[in-house]
Amino acid sequence: MGNYFDLTWDRIDSRVTADHVRHEAAGAVVVFEGVVRNHHKGRSVDRLTYEAYEPMAKKKLEEVGAEAIGQWPELTVAIVHRLGDLAIGEAATVVAVSSPHRGNAFDAARYIMDRIKIVVPIWKKEWFSDGTHEWVRPAPQSSP
């Protein structure tokens, strides 16, 4: 139990991620799952591949967690990011936070996701149903 940060090539079990942040003083647990969806900007998607600069990505996940705890000291944080090939419906990211109260838990989970998308060196390739593929160029409004 406690803060936890990991990159994994295996399927993420969000229950295991959430269990890291549970403790007796935590009245609120918020779990966010970023899941591979079957469409992006109107195009049909078959699967995704995630690539990371692994040691830096791990370090940045830890830093994002530390930033959140700096803002909300009562927070406990677990972040797991998947790498490799993912099918539709599989989780790419799971963020779990606990806090005595729900407002901070929601704020922190959202903050963490926003920061992950800026500072963690992980890239996503989309494999479209029409046979083409493309590394995603992020636009602020386009992400799950």
């Binding site: 990505a57 990211t93 998308k117 060196p121 890239w123 590394w135 160029r137 992400s143």
Partner: protein
């Protein structure tokens, strides 16, 4: 005396260059800005990607004014799309 650095490519940049990275030797005092320009002139096909990329040295982001040190591990970080 020159500084030797290892430059590492990922994702789109790795696929476009067909390379995981390269070793370079630069005059002492070379900055990230100069590295960005040199890589672009060496590989015109990635000029646009480089213009949007950030650079990390030894696992931390650095800005264009950073002066390369001997042995630096320089990662070119195109806009990220994790999460």
């Amino acid at each position: 005396m020159n500084v030797k650095v290892q430059v590492r490519y990922f994702a789109l940049l790795r696929e476009t260059t067909g390379s995981e990275g390269e070793k370079y030797s630069f005059p002492q005092g070379t900055t990230i800005l100069e590295l960005r320009t040199q890589l672009g002139s060496h590989r015109p096909e990635v000029m646009e990607i480089l213009s949007e990329a950030r650079f990390a040295v030894n696992e931390d982001f650095v800005d264009d004014s950073y002066v390369l040190a001997d042995g630096d591990f320089v990662a070119v970080i195109p806009p990220v799309s994790g999460g």
